[in-house]
Amino acid sequence: MTVTETAAPPVDTMTGVMQTATSVVGLPGDPGSRLLSGPAQSGGAESLAAHQARLGALPTAVHLEELAASGLTGRGGGNFPFVKKVQLAASRPGTPLVVVNASESEPASRKDVTLLALRPHLVLDGAVLTARALGAAQVVVYLHSARTQSTHAVTAAVAQRRAAGIDASVTVTVVDAPQSYLSGESSALVSVLEGRGPVPSLRRVPVAATGVGGRPTLVSNAETYAHVALIARFGASWFRPGGPASSPGSTLLTLAGGVRSPGLVVESVGQTSLRQVLSGPGGLVEPPRAVLIGGYAGSWVSGEAAWSLPVDRSWLAAAGTSLGCGLVAPLDSSACGLAETARLLGYLASQSAGQCGPCVLGLPELAERFAALVDGQGSRRQLRRISELAVSIRGRGACAHPDGAVQLAETALGVFATEVRSHARRGTCPRRRCAATSGLPLPAGPAVAAAAVMSR
């Protein structure tokens, strides 16, 4: 590993704090952060000049050995080793395409838009370095243009880089993602880039091998590329202590639901627990009733259990609770977990691409039966039917969308068993809070806009 002499490391010391098990939860501008270190959030997007003054010029290359040694895995939810995806794309014939997936279609997640809005050049550096490693000439940044702050930051950053001529042989294009929950799923993303709708498909081979127009298409999350930019500058041995040994490097999380500032993005650096993440400045002082982890198609975990969970993508995945997009949403103390789950299941059902029978027919019924539980119809027969539905739906789609909805439903039944019984007996929850809103936002309408190329 070599450290660029002219560049200040993005943490205050290269040794000491980060090398030990000391934990840090960094906010934008916090010197303890890595991706979000540098100017404070109020400064908006970091310019190319400021970015290069802080971190040094764009390195000429990122070496695959360094990426492999870093242990970097995808931060969009898949947790797949990044270097393996790059190697797969590199091994296939055809001109590769590099896609920065910044669509972040999880309604409560903000980590990617925040990263792009504050540090657009970090993401673009990583994408351009990956393109060079693959011999690709084109990078696509795939995002929701309705999120104007991050979109403006990216288009301005692309213009600054073009004026400075730093990306040379690589062209960066910004493409608008349709408004749908599934538009960021990699096969749906390929469908959009091929000029069709955001519709997933069963892939016989991964899109990294055969994607857009048959070309190897490396689709990775925006945060993943930002890590590549820092690994290229500071090396794998700097990167790894940013996280636990089983999940190297820092990771971005969005706090939502029953927290003081829903939508707050924090960077978990070192070995942290969800307790540390949630009880930071202005945070929770005691475990909430439950925490939704990983996204709306994620897992409910009881607050007591969540309190001691490590922020460790690999550990959590092995334990059956994926960190997914990095959403950490405590149930608001004024909300009912059962009613919340019914609401989220209704949303997930509405976002089915409409292709696979068990998803088209099963998810609406699952949502309706949860709504019935909230209404007090929690008979054994009702619960038995929900279990049957789960078995009939799981593993039956061309994509994992229906499986995610089942995961949400099943974990809710486990965590909110008391609420299910109370609703069945008294038609409400123990604390009669079923009508309250929880702070978990849903998009206003399911309008699916046609994809449009915004800049070239």
């Binding site: 069963l202 334990a319 059956g320 029978g357 068990p358 027919l361 009939s392 799981r394 994992a400 974990t411």
Partner: protein, 93 residues
């Protein structure tokens, strides 16, 4: 010859049901009439012939035969199942 199995592209299945009639060892119809495929290896020439027949008979081309070794790469990554909850997927319904 390496072991093979039947695979379904659920996005193409419209529930015609010919597959379940002709290859009941590996295909059943779910409560809605859509094909549910047992991923167990196709055993014996008779079952392999039946499977090849239903691949050809599906009006939507939703079925295919794949090597068992390739299954992991073809199946979309499912979210990990919750610990403690029942974890039976595929095959045993």
């Amino acid at each position: 010859m390496s072991a093979t199995r039947l695979v379904l592209d659920a996005a193409r299945c419209d529930g015609h049901g010919i597959c379940a009639l002709r290859c009941p060892d590996r295909v059943s119809l779910d409560q809605w009439g859509y094909a549910a495929v047992d991923p167990a290896p196709l055993e014996g020439r008779r079952m392999q012939r039946r499977a090849a027949n239903v691949v050809a008979a599906c009006p939507n081309g939703a079925l295919a035969i794949a090597a068992v070794a390739a299954v992991a790469a073809e199946t979309p990554p499912a979210p990990p199942s919750h610990t403690g909850a029942s974890d039976n997927r595929g095959g045993g319904r």
